[in-house]
Symmetry: C2
Subunit: 297 residues, 2 copies
Amino acid sequence: MTLRLEGRPVTEAIDRETRSILASLGMGAPPPLLVSVHRGVDSPFRFYLKRQAKAAQALGIGFRDDTLAPGNGTDELAARLRSLDRDPSVHGVIVEHPLPAPFDFFRALEELRPEKDIDGVGARNLGRLLAQRPLHVPAVARAALAIARHYRLPLEGQPTAVVGRSPTVGLPLAVLLASRPPGGNASVRLLHSQSRDLVEGLAGTRTIFSCAGRPGLLDRRLVPEGAHVVDVGLSSVPDPGRPGGARAVGDADPDSLDGWAASLTPVPGGVGPVTVAELMANTARAWQVQLKGTGDA
Amino acid sequence: MTLRLEGRPVTEAIDRETRSILASLGMGAPPPLLVSVHRGVDSPFRFYLKRQAKAAQALGIGFRDDTLAPGNGTDELAARLRSLDRDPSVHGVIVEHPLPAPFDFFRALEELRPEKDIDGVGARNLGRLLAQRPLHVPAVARAALAIARHYRLPLEGQPTAVVGRSPTVGLPLAVLLASRPPGGNASVRLLHSQSRDLVEGLAGTRTIFSCAGRPGLLDRRLVPEGAHVVDVGLSSVPDPGRPGGARAVGDADPDSLDGWAASLTPVPGGVGPVTVAELMANTARAWQVQLKGTGDA
């Protein structure tokens, strides 16, 4: 019997904290405003967009989605971010990622001060994470860890795998999991597309975080029996029966893992909504810091 | 027969590149100047200081060592770094690390622009490493990788261990090793003091980088037979017979590993001198960029 680790209870706990931050500054404070910048094209990012708007509305956070024009590149994105950085009514900015060439994601993100980079994916926030002085931690990494904590998956000192080494997901998640508490304090095996020891590296791991973006990668040939799987992967596969003609899938093969893995987060409904909740929590924190002018920046 | 992987041939190759950078700007250019800031007390850092001065002199790099006063803390260090950052005659700055409390190393380092942080240990350089857009990579991590490359140790796709998770050594080395070429492209197991799977995690690894700072940690009970060991650890142990009453030791137990490991870098004479050579190479690059006003910063 493989437990299905739903994101919803984790989301509810994070939202409670967000509401208490939002209530802390009382009446009269300008409401927080979050801006989500994206290309407006079909990409796995769009699965988050509607959820971002809905979550923001439910929490009383202002939300605006900002579509780049077709043909826009790094310069336009950088100019957009520079303008959002200077706008005092904007407290947090999310940028679609990964962004394909010719976009230079990290160069554009340099225009955003770390406090407003509420997704924690700019180089300055990544540096603070590696330096063990985090400000905003990449929301998806926070979400994956929050799920593991909520369901008390084995982490502390335990062999733990991260599959995938993207600079905005796999690498920061590996660093967060290996960090001292409140990090995961886990023994981390970082595996990727070039790893020749996928089977041996996963053998003996108790909890596996998969961020490869490769549907069906994790099946019972790779996952040790009784391991827990947090499925961070997000891919879009064609599905004519769905609105938009596509659906979101993770890295895990749920049929293969059923009755084999100890637990598995579903896609959709697992890491995705928790990531959105973490984005909202980071926005609330950013708003608090920017309004109070306090906090370590 | 355990091969002894001397740092010297690696150092010579790096120094050749440094000399060619230094020759590139021709006559008339102001010479590069490197400043090493330290507490002037007994710490493992002092093993590097004399080597820094000697290596700089041999290469024609100006060198100044800047001793903090007794009782100085983060504010004094930050002020010192701010002044060095503004001084156009200074091209590179090294700061002793780790620095114990009350020093806040990373806060002080914020005063140094990434180009002058030639040890690559400030949060902004760490962030660029994690973002896969490196400027200066921590010199000790570069040195460990350079040794592995020079002696063609197994890395590419291979199970590789990093023992230790300090923010300026173990963590950045793990990221560098897991990164695509020119990174190590290795499958990385990041182990540390809280890992309960030290033996299982090291089993099957081909190359082990130890950065724990724990003398004698790596012996044949932990290291798999035939593995290669790059000893990045540096500790000071009392030795009344030596000048200064202490000597430098690594993490490996050379007697236990002799005839068991395939190869081992000595301490002293392994990673240490190569780290110094990498510091000089980074200084030359920083000087070139700052003089030409070119380069991606």
